[in-house]
Symmetry: C3
Subunit: 132 residues, 3 copies
């Protein structure tokens, strides 16, 4: 059985931390030992793991992605958000996290982020657990 | 048990949609509920999920990757395809999709793509299913 | 049950091949058929699969990433390693590999690499196996 959470993003491009939300879902579902898969069912938003101590890391990450993948004048896609589609494919639609005794196994500085690349919008995120 | 499908790509760099093919394999294998893992056993091709409504998104994605990761004159690898190796590591060799009642759980606009970065070639793709 | 291995990196940015190490862990754990998940619990190191025949591929990959994601003067993060955080999110914290009869199912040219983006350091890598 999967679970689905809904999120609201606030900027065109932002990393929104969802670690506490994921921990709460884990607790509600009583998932204990296995692998948790997170999946974003959108094509201009993704999920990633990065530092959650200094929010400047997220700001810098968005800056770097905009620099590397600008909205090129030569793009054909009429919606004008091809830059967001590129960032989504490179960041990835899913993440995996080991779960032990009902706890996420993350490194000291790791947090889980929804990567919004074409907001602000309402977004969904699926959680699927595989025991083992 | 894994399944393997063979694909033919037609351009040096292209995103080839494989969603219908994956659905057909799912049906043949009678995989019902769990997680489907796709794995590309090559180092200059990858697998990704992106928009399948407007083919211009794929064209733009390839354009953006060529711009961000050109075939630099300073590259040492003698085969002259280091740009393709870079794109492969960033796009990733695998994808995960939730399966419910034998159906792929994808968002409205999501399709699955083989990302060819050094074609045209014959390529393989492994499918592995984990029940749960 | 997960396993954890410790690694020492030697350069600021490098791809360190860990395929033999992963094979040895697989053997020690007697993991036979399923999916192996690798997870890096750091925010400036990642894991990836790429060519293991010509070491120039790794050199070129690091060169290309530095070119696409430079350490911008406009970055705010005070530690001065935002470039490494960006590379980590795009390369990804985890990899998946199919295991059959106790063997990694990799393509002819594929090797597994720890991607160090802010070394040299001591790093950890978790291995989690899901039977199926």
């Amino acid at each position: 059985m999967k679970r689905t959470v809904n999120l609201t993003t606030h900027q065109t491009k932002e990393l929104q931390e969802i670690t506490p939300l994921i921990r709460e879902e884990l607790r509600k579902a009583s998932w204990k030992n296995g692998i948790l898969m997170l999946f974003v069912p959108h094509t201009t938003a993704a999920v990633t793991i990065n530092e959650n101590a200094d929010p400047d890391v997220c700001t810098d990450l968005v800056y770097a992605l905009k620099h590397a993948f600008p909205q090129h004048p030569a793009f054909h896609h009429i919606e004008g958000n091809s830059d967001a589609h590129v960032m989504t494919s490179l960041t990835g639609s899913s993440e995996l996290i080991i779960v032990e005794n009902g706890q996420l196994v993350l490194g000291t500085w790791q947090g889980i982020y929804l990567a919004e690349y074409d907001g602000p919008r309402r977004r969904s995120l699926h959680l699927k657990f595989i025991e083992g």
